[in-house]
């Protein structure tokens, strides 16, 4: 395996008494689109700011490629940042904003003009160079911020919730565009977000952060299909967690329900109290699958692409999505008694959280 572009080794960051990042180690592969995902205050932005050089770690080391950069100021690191507020220089034109980094590296004349114009073209702002940032829309400002960072061809590009200020439609569009741009330029992107959908849409790998630590690191599929903890299961999408006790190498007896089968790999040698998780879209209405629970539909919501059911069972309320593949509702309606079933392979197991039940 090649040297990772960014490597954090046992990095801790304290602000007075508050531990923002707690003994965090991380490798980001060269050329990948990496996301740091977590709620506000989980330390993801602090981690990014330490990579960028705006904060210095209290303990631990940060490497960019082979080079240790901990202790170096931002201007000595081959890293550029797209700020959440964009931080475009209001007194400079769009052209000069994008040219700022190149000018610092003594790129002049035609080379400078050429590189800036080419970058403005890539982000779809050709011919806007003479405008001032305040004359642009939010989406355009975002593109200038991206161009200003990318034109320097940094080793790593850091993005601090860059789409947070955009409206939903523009955000979706920019997500795909960012991913395409990353693919084209081949630069390592590290993207901080609290939006799990955004992270899953764009990133190759995601680190879910909580309380200054990485809760789980993996591909979007891994995180969604086999979350390691109840926290990750809850943060990425909706999940039904049913508590129970391990009763065999591939079975769990639910606390107020039957014994269900799980895959031995998912159980991974756990014993005692655990929680079985099933994603709502993996539950069927009807008893077509090996694991089954009786219940009563209490709520039904038509959300276009799917219908969401809330089903009351002995093991608590479960959420079920049924895709609306054929026109109209699926037939079940509130008050109906129904059987829910799922395949052992489509469930996962996490440690039971102390505070719940």
């Amino acid at each position: 395996m090649s040297t990772p572009d960014v490597r954090l080794v046992d990095v801790t960051k304290r602000f007075d008494d508050v531990v923002a990042v707690d003994d965090l180690s991380l490798d980001v592969e060269s050329g990948s689109f990496f996301a740091l995902l977590g709620p506000s205050g989980c330390g993801k932005t602090t981690t990014l700011r330490m990579i960028g050089g705006f904060e210095q770690p209290s303990e631990g080391c940060i490497f960019l490629g082979e080079r240790e950069v901990s202790g170096l100021p931002a201007y000595k690191r081959d890293v550029n940042t797209v700020f959440q507020s964009y931080a475009l220089f209001p007194h400079l034109s769009v052209f000069e904003n994008v040219a700022f980094g190149l000018r610092r590296r003594s790129v002049r004349g035609e080379t400078l003009r050429g590189r800036v114009e080419a970058m403005l073209k890539i982000v779809g702002l050709a011919g806007m160079g003479r405008r001032k940032p305040r004359q642009l829309s939010g989406g355009q400002q975002q593109r200038v911020a991206l161009a200003r960072a990318l034109v320097n061809k940094p080793q790593v590009l850091l993005l601090d919730e860059p789409l947070g200020a955009l409206d939903l439609k523009l955000r979706k569009q920019m997500q795909l565009e960012l991913k395409a741009i990353q693919h084209d330029v081949g630069i390592t992107f590290i993207h901080v977000t609290h939006d799990q959908e955004e992270a899953m849409t764009m990133a190759d790998r995601i680190a879910v952060m909580n309380d200054g630590r990485i809760e789980q690191l993996g591909t979007p599929t891994e995180l969604y299909e086999t979350p390691a903890t109840a926290y990750v299961a809850g943060f990425l999408g909706v999940s039904n967690l049913i508590h129970g006790t391990v009763s065999g190498s591939d079975s769990v007896r639910l606390d107020r329900g039957p014994e269900v089968r799980v895959s031995a790999a998912a159980l991974n040698g756990r014993t005692g109290h655990v929680a079985v998780g099933i994603r709502p879209e993996k539950i069927e209405l009807g008893n077509g699958q090996p694991n089954a629970l009786e219940g009563k539909i209490v709520e039904q919501a038509y959300v276009g692409v799917a219908t969401q059911y809330i089903v009351e069972t002995d093991c608590g309320r479960l959420t079920v999505y049924r895709q609306n593949a054929s026109p109209g509702l699926n037939g079940a309606s509130p008050g109906d008694r129904t059987t829910l079933s799922w395949s052992p392979d489509s469930s996962f197991v996490v440690d039971s959280m102390e505070e719940s039940e």
Binding site: G52, F54, Y75, N80, T81, F83, P90, R134, A149
Partner: protein, 288 residues
């Protein structure tokens, strides 16, 4: 016809209501004109009497129009040197006070340090202390044996005094601008390869420049017309306000009005220029 008396009454009613509506609509205008007159008459008198050709020593009664005072604006002994001294002091004091004030404002807004709250409070002290107290205490300081051995009353004591009371204004002006300053802009500059000094030069300074200009103008204006503090600490030196005061006791020459008019015209021109620049900026922002 029954309509006749009615038509006779109508013009009168109409006049009354017309007058009333005129008053209603123009009361504010009239009030505004009065207020402006109140503010402007003294200035108009100063300018007008700069063209007076006084019969005696006193420039209090109009006795003929002349350009002589403007042509020979420094025809009074001591006036020119007083004016030059005032300009020198005001120029240096506003520069020094703005430079120091900017640094203080940066420290107060950017950094948490022991004594920040106290500094924040103390910086307002010169603003709220009566000038006469300030002047008298400074004199006590300057006359102190240890100080007076190295520093005689004169140019430097005036300058020190002016810088002192200007700093507060500079700090307040620059601080207001810094509070709204997005720190990410500086981080962005450093992210793009600018070190601390280049960041200050290329990003911080241009963005706080309007506040620096405002501070310079404010300090200049306060310094050039200061009388009370200067009166205590001037030693043998005479500034323009001190000259006017001295001259007024024996009859101020019309040249004083000339200088006053020039100062007024310069101040107004700077203000108008500022407004025009702002308007042009707003326009260019709106159209593009």
């Amino acid at each position: 016809m029954t309509a006749v008396p009615a038509t006779e009454r109508m013009p009168r009613e109409r006049t009354v209501s017309r007058v009333w509506s005129f008053v209603k609509h123009h009361a504010l205008t009239a009030y505004a004109i009065l207020a402006f007159t109140y503010l402007m008459v003294p200035i108009a008198v100063v300018i007008a009497f700069s063209f007076n050709n006084p019969a005696g020593r006193f420039n209090y009664t109009w006795s003929g129009f002349t350009f002589d005072n403007w042509k020979h604006w420094d025809g009074v002994p001591g006036l020119r040197s007083a004016m030059v001294l005032s300009l020198e002091i005001a120029f240096i004091a506003s520069l020094v006070a703005t430079a120091l004030g900017t640094l203080i404002a940066l420290a107060l807004v950017r950094y948490g340090f022991r004594g920040r709250g106290a500094t924040n409070l103390l910086i307002f002290l010169p603003l709220s202390t009566p000038e006469i107290v300030l002047g008298a205490s400074l004199l006590t300081l300057f006359l102190n044996n240890h100080v007076s051995k190295v520093l005689q009353l004169g140019f430097w004591t005036i300058l020190i005094a002016h810088v002192m009371f200007c700093i507060s204004f500079a700090v307040v002006t620059v601080k207001a601008r810094l509070i709204g300053f997005d720190r990410h802009l500086e981080e962005a500059a450093m992210d793009l390869g600018a070190n601390e000094w280049v960041t200050f030069q290329k990003v911080t300074l241009p963005l706080i420049a309007p506040a620096l200009l405002a501070s310079l103008l404010l300090c200049f204006a306060i310094s050039i017309d200061d009388f009370v503090v200067t009166y205590f600490n001037n030693g043998p030196k005479i500034t323009f306000p001190l000259f006017v005061w001295g001259a007024a006791r024996v009859g101020a020459p019309p040249q004083v009005n000339v200088i006053g008019s020039v100062i007024f015209i310069v101040a107004v021109s700077v203000m108008v220029a500022n407004v025009l620049v702002q308007m042009r900026r707003a326009k260019s922002a709106a159209t593009a």
